[in-house]
């Protein structure tokens, strides 16, 4: 990989489209800088207040869409509060749709305030914890996905090379890689376990 072009993309044009309009790039930057680091708190909140865990990844996605849409009009002042308010509203909407009396969601205003207070310190990450986390994430991957991502990220093999080495086709390789990338994202952004780590 070309080191220079790597830096360039990291600094001047982190995302496609970013270089074109400052508006897009400002919202992208804000989203990445202010919202993504709060994902662990968001997930904790959702898990506490919603019974069905399999809904939660979709909720997270919906919340991010709402946040991003709002931020396009104006960047919210307090990312943490805004995120939690959005999450709360979404849970209430979902509860209504599901015709559930939203006892938990509605009763949790105090929780919100508490959560908003602790968001600062929860921006974790003496990054060393990420290693532990990554290891856990890799361990949980299905073996083939784990093998594929290690070949890609550690050994720098291309899809074609990975396919040959694993004796599968490239479509399967890309599916394994995508699954691994999603799982790693969940761990790196989302899991709060490192906050609770006992010294």
């Amino acid at each position: 990989m070309d080191r220079k072009s790597d830096f360039r993309s990291a600094v001047t044009a982190p995302f496609p489209g970013a270089a074109k309009g400052t508006a897009v790039s400002a919202v992208d930057d804000w989203f990445e800088r202010e919202i993504l680091p709060l994902e662990a708190s968001l997930m904790q909140y959702l898990e506490r207040n919603w019974r069905n865990p399999s809904d939660i990844p979709d909720f997270r996605q919906d919340i991010y869409v709402r946040i991003y849409e709002a931020a396009q009009k104006e960047l919210p002042q307090h990312a943490g509060k805004f995120l939690l308010t959005t999450a709360r509203n979404l849970l209430i909407d979902k509860a209504k749709q599901a015709r559930i009396v939203p006892i938990e969601a509605a009763a949790s205003l105090e929780d919100f305030d508490k959560a908003a207070d602790v968001l600062g310190p929860e921006r974790i990450a003496v990054a060393r914890d990420e290693l532990r986390h990554l290891q856990a994430a890799l361990d949980r991957l299905p073996p083939r996905a784990r093998e594929a991502i290690i070949l890609r990220r550690i050994h720098g093999l291309t899809r074609g090379e990975i396919a040959r080495r694993m004796g599968i086709n490239e479509v399967s390789v890309s599916r394994y890689l995508s699954r691994a990338i999603c799982a790693l994202a969940d761990v790196l952004h989302g899991e709060p376990s490192n906050i609770r780590r006992r010294p």
């Binding site: 830096f7 869409v65 310190p121 290690i150 050994h155 790693l184 994202a185 899991e191």
Partner: protein, 323 residues
Amino acid sequence: MSRWSDETAMPSIDMRAADYVERRDSGNWTDKDEAELEGWLAENIAHRVSFLRLNSSWRRTERLAALRPPEDEEEVPRGPSSGGHYLKIAAVFGLLLGVGGFATVYLTTPRTETYSTPVGGREILTLKDGSRIELNTNTSVRVALSGKERAVTVEKGEVYFKVHHDASRPFVVKAQGHRVVDLGTEFSLRVERHDVKVALFDGRVRFDPDTQTNAKPKVMIPGEVLTASVDRVSVEKEPLQDLLASLAWRRGMLQFHNTTLAAAAAEFNRYNQTKIVLDDPKAGTETINGMLPINDLAEFAHVAKSLFGLRAENHGDEIVLTR
């Protein structure tokens, strides 16, 4: 987590976004691919947020490489096609996978941890108390956290601190035998050879010089820049605005204010493997103003050309600016 054990549980938007993230970071990504991706992102905000999220964590798996303890480098097996770049990643994953029993040693070592960035790197560490430690290019720090004290030793480079003050657990920064003790504050510290430079932006710190200097401890106020060499300590007052400009690196930029071209080139050279060489002594004394992206050597060459008529010759790892 069981979420990923079931293929159907993963939204297909994420799968597609992950595919783009991975392909975009591989060798064979074309303009046509980029155009296709832009179209897909523009289609739907759900696509965009998914891409942003996955791209960010994908980059973080790479950035972890910068945080490995430098002394581990030699212990790491090389992958088949690994250049230096991948070697570092291998270091991280090698640790993860317990190669040579390293992971155990390293994760149970009590509380002192080394973080470093390569040339051009930047890293933000956030402590649980909310304090921030931002490492600039080519920097190495040791962080030791105990119940009584938060100690950071800057071995080389430049670091910005925003400290959550806690009188019962002081935050102490050490460099070259000097100590900076936080009294609730925001400051940066840079080590250059034997000199240590501390700039205070907000709050107060106490600077305890190395005993060899025979200087007294000094409580700094915002706007002051203290320079400590082996044998003396001096303090200057700088306009806060200029001080803040010196922190542009935190945004990936370099800010110049009546800076000579020679000094600007030296700044760039702190961040980039490819070095700028000024082959025209007279041009070196010309001054520039403004802001440039830290890694944009092409833009710097362009500035030198349009302002001072210098020609840029590319010699691989050097860009020579000449008349």
